[in-house]
């Protein structure tokens, strides 16, 4: 269970196709097996959640890449592109979600230091901030609707509603995951496996949450500051 890589392990990780005594790695840092993954395939390692999360986020990146390319092409393809004025409320949304990333980091660190009570508090704050963010987004929609700006009003408003909705749905998934952490894994696991599952799940959700934070900042810049 050594967390530091010793020189011996490094030598082992270089070998590809060697026999079991040296338990070959494969160049994927910590994830691809190597000394840990190969050691006991039936045991649970928190790496699995983290790896799975990165893979899942890759597909999210591709989804928003597709939408971004559509955005750029559509903006250039005709002269009916009239950007909508930014609802001021989005500044609040942005601030809230950035703060929520900080609080989640607080939760993760408390978990690492085994401060379970603190972990629970930080999680709760993060969840509330997530809900506040979604509420703020909905209010921003309502502001626009009051101005008579709908999905079909012009291409820019179409993209605004589409991208905020796509992000919101993903963030809602994050809030559900946070609620799961709050309800199911606030207490220490019964054994080593349960404990590493708990840590792995919290790790994976934190990656997701930070990613959704960054994604929002990106969309915010794309929708209102990209020319």
């Amino acid at each position: 269970m050594a967390t530091t890589v010793t020189s011996a392990e490094r030598v082992i990780e270089k070998g590809i196709g060697t026999g079991p005594p040296s338990r070959p790695g494969n160049g994927f840092h910590r994830n691809g097996g190597g000394s840990k993954g190969d050691a006991d395939p039936l045991r649970f390692y928190p790496d699995r959640y983290r790896l799975g999360m990165w893979v899942a986020l890759t597909s999210v990146v591709m989804l928003f890449t597709a939408l971004t390319s559509a955005y750029i092409v559509r903006a250039a393809s005709s002269n009916d592109w009239r950007p909508i004025a930014m609802p001021r409320l989005l500044w609040l949304s942005t601030a809230v979600i950035i703060i929520s990333s900080v609080t989640f980091e607080g939760a993760r660190r408390s978990l690492k230091r085994q401060h379970d009570a603190m972990y629970g508090h930080w999680l709760l704050i993060t969840t509330i901030l997530g809900v506040v963010f979604l509420g703020s987004q909905l209010l921003a929609w309502r502001q626009l609707v009051r101005q008579g700006i709908y999905l079909a009003t012009n291409p820019h408003s179409s993209f605004f509603y589409l991208m905020t909705a796509a992000h919101g749905v993903h963030l809602l998934g994050g809030i559900l995951a946070l609620s799961y952490l709050l309800v199911r894994t606030r207490r220490r696991g019964a054994d080593v496996t349960a404990e590493s599952r708990r840590i792995g799940a919290a790790d994976a959700v934190s990656i997701y949450w930070h990613f959704m934070d960054g994604l929002w900042v990106y969309l915010f810049l794309l929708l209102f500051f990209w020319k």
């Binding site: 070998g15 590809i16 196709g17 060697t18 026999g19 079991p20 005594p21 338990r23 070959p24 494969n26 994927f28 994830n31 691809g32 097996g33 993954g37 190969d38 050691a39 006991d40 395939p41 039936l42 045991r43 649970f44 390692y45 790496d47 699995r48 790896l51 799975g52 893979v55 899942a56 890759t58 597909s59 999210v60 990146v61 591709m62 989804l63 928003f64 890449t65 597709a66 939408l67 390319s69 559509a70 092409v73 559509r74 393809s77 005709s78 002269n79 009916d80 592109w81 999905l151 079909a152 012009n154 291409p155 179409s158 589409l162 796509a166 496996t193």
Partner: protein, 636 residues
């Protein structure tokens, strides 16, 4: 269980109730079989549609009373209407590409065998795996529903319908083609018949399918990277695992793009947006500005093509890469030789998958793209020929000098190589802009992609089915029936698709319901007839396969754990494997995946789990390259 030597941690216990065991199962083996059953159901529907299309093409205007009863709107009075024909084309393509060629090779065989071949008890996320199947299943139901919602004649389509179909003709299902090109697909009902609610369902179905595939891909990648057993280094994995892994990466990167495109298309249809609807359009007697027309215009129909083909081309490799993996695996096993150039095979799989992301433009040569981009796309497309040729060369190298056992699985694997070459070579023709311009949208294209993406992939799956059936069901399939099935199918598909190349060169366009009005195509009628008869015979002979499949499940010869004398991990466990695959024992891998006829080895074939003995001589120099590596163990 007396011999359990390791601490065993089951991630889920064997389920007891029927529903948990066979329906909402977490077991990757059950989910794999569910996927295969879904694909078999879908392929029956898809084949039936192709028969209806052939009936219409070779005997146009004939009255088939039974069709009039079955499809009163699509074939009024028993005569197949042009709209019905187009919706058959659309649904045949969509069902085959998504629910057959994507589900069976990856979701089916990949799900069942990837965890066993890397020596683990299940996928990394069994719950997501279960979701992946059921989401896909819902997508299939919605797609089938799309066939039935399009009964009435669409607004503004009456005149067109009358002109084409002789009055009162409706459609059965959407008619946008499996590619659903905008702007027609984005406009809704004003675009004519077959563009109404059915298309909405068609888009929703594909979007759901994307989500199911993404869940699957996530599982495949994590499982392969995280859960390999002791000693199963990457270069000791069977080539099937490499193929499934690369396929999962392709799915992971390409399906989200289709999902995004699908959302945009659906919003154009139901949300009043104009992502794909251009300005100044005149469609079906309606000019943009007309109240019936969508409020806005100014979008880019080509954007849909870009998004669609950015997914669409990798999709071709999603369909065929697992077949390549299975073929490599089976050729080696029955040639009793190691795969020739294992490493080269791995890199070729990656090269094909990677290049596949940069060639989507070759589907759009006639879209008016800049000649410079066309040249770039053309060169990149042709360069896929290099890894493809490496693979073909290595397959032949694997067969060369082998002691070949001509089992049915082997015949289908050799058939795969043949079809891959025959279908791939015309890819080099179509990949060149100057040749593609006249060939585009002719039967030449139809013949090309059916041979290479359709039939070759299906042959890979037939090979996989005959090969792995004994592992999945504990019994062997009947070899005589299998060989009969192979030969008729093999001759049949060439008889269907080789004449189609000729039709395409003559200039017969795709997707036309009838050719009776074109004098220059009249001479081709005997060929059209030949193709139809060959198609009917080939489809009929699949009944033999279905009979063999279901009969052998219950009455076939009992197989035993390793009927083919193969070397990989799935053959070390009972047939069918127990719930956790290896009955509590964690397999340890000591060898490469294809150690057949290794000089100096005590046996003809060495299982991956057999330890290297002290009296085994070190391999001759150079041999390590051809037998899948992992020979450093010999030196120790």
């Amino acid at each position: 269980m007396a011999e359990v030597t390791h601490e065993v941690v089951h991630r889920h216990e064997p389920p007891k109730s029927f529903i948990r065991k066979y329906i909402f199962s977490l077991d990757h083996k059950v989910i794999g079989i569910q996927y295969i059953m879904l694909a078999l159901t879908a392929v029956v529907v898809g084949m039936a549609m192709s028969i209806l299309m052939r009936l219409n093409l070779s005997w146009p205007g004939t009255n088939w009373p039974i069709l009039g009863t079955l499809f009163p709107t699509g074939a009024p009075g028993g005569v197949i209407s042009p709209e019905f024909y187009l919706s058959l084309v659309t649904m045949h393509g969509t069902i085959m590409v998504f629910f057959v060629l994507t589900t069976a090779p990856q979701g089916g065989f990949g799900n069942y065998f990837l965890p066993i071949q890397i020596g683990t008890d299940d996928m990394a996320f069994p719950f997501l795996n279960m979701m992946s199947f059921w989401v896909t299943f819902v997508g299939f139901i919605i797609l089938l529903a799309a066939i039935f919602v399009e009964g009435s004649v669409a607004v503004g389509g009456g005149a067109l319908g009358t002109a084409l179909g002789g009055g009162g003709s409706g459609t059965v299902g959407p008619i946008g083609g499996w590619t659903g090109y905008a702007p027609l697909s984005a406009l809704g009902k004003i675009a004519g018949p077959g563009q109404g609610a059915g298309v909405n369902l068609w888009i929703v179905s594909i979007a759901i399918f994307c989500i199911g595939s993404l869940l699957g891909a996530l599982n495949f990648i994590t499982t392969l990277l995280n859960m390999r057993t002791r000693g199963m280094s990457l270069m000791r994995m069977p080539l099937t695992c490499w193929a499934w892994f690369t396929t999962a990466v392709l799915a992971l990167l390409s399906f989200p793009v289709l999902l995004g495109g699908g959302i945009l298309l659906l919003l154009d249809r139901v949300g009043g947006t104009s992502f794909f609807i251009p300005a100044g359009e005149y469609v079906n007697g309606v000019l943009s500005g007309d109240p019936r027309f969508p409020l806005h215009a100014g979008g880019s129909p080509l954007l849909w093509q870009h998004l669609f083909w950015f997914f669409g081309h990798p999709e071709v490799y999603i369909a065929i890469l697992p077949g390549m993996g299975a073929t490599s695996h089976i050729l080696s096993t029955f040639a009793r030789k190691p795969v020739f150039g294992y490493r080269a095979m791995v890199f070729a799989i990656f090269a094909i998958g990677g290049l596949g992301f940069f060639v989507w433009g070759h589907h759009m040569f006639i879209s008016g793209m800049s000649p410079y981009s066309a040249i770039a796309f053309s060169i990149l497309t042709l360069s896929i020929g290099v890894p493809s040729a490496i693979k073909t060369f290595n397959w032949i190298g694997t067969l060369w000098g082998g002691r070949i056992r001509f089992t049915t699985a082997m015949l289908f694997a050799i058939g795969f190589v043949s079809l891959f070459v025959a279908g791939g070579i015309t890819g080099l023709v179509l990949g060149q802009t100057s040749l593609d311009l006249p060939m585009h949208d002719t039967y030449f294209v139809t013949a090309h992609f059916h041979l290479v993406m359709g039939v070759a992939s299906i042959f890979g799956m037939f090979a996989a089915m005959y090969f792995w059936f004994p592992k999945m069901f504990g019994r062997l399939m009947n070899e005589s029936l299998g060989k009969f099935h192979f030969w008729i199918t093999f001759i049949g598909v060439y008889t269907i698709f080789v004449p189609m190349h000729i039709m395409g060169i003559v200039g017969m366009p795709r997707r036309y319901a009838q050719f009776t009005e074109y004098a220059f195509l009249g001479r081709l009628h005997p060929l059209v007839l030949l193709v139809s008869i060959a198609a009917i015979v080939t489809v009929s002979v699949q009944l033999v396969f279905f009979f063999n499949l279901f009969w052998s499940m219950f009455k076939g010869k009992v197989a035993g754990p390793n009927p083919w004398e193969a070397t990989t991990l799935e053959w070390t466990t009972p047939s069918p494997p127990p719930h956790d695959n290896f009955a509590g024992i964690v397999p340890t891998v000591y060898r490469g995946p294809y150690e057949f006829a290794v000089p100096g080895a005590p046996k003809d074939f060495m299982m991956q789990t057999e330890p290297v003995t002290a009296d085994e001589p070190a391999l001759a120099p150079g041999l390590g390259d051809t037998s899948g590596n992992g020979h450093d163990g010999h030196k120790r």
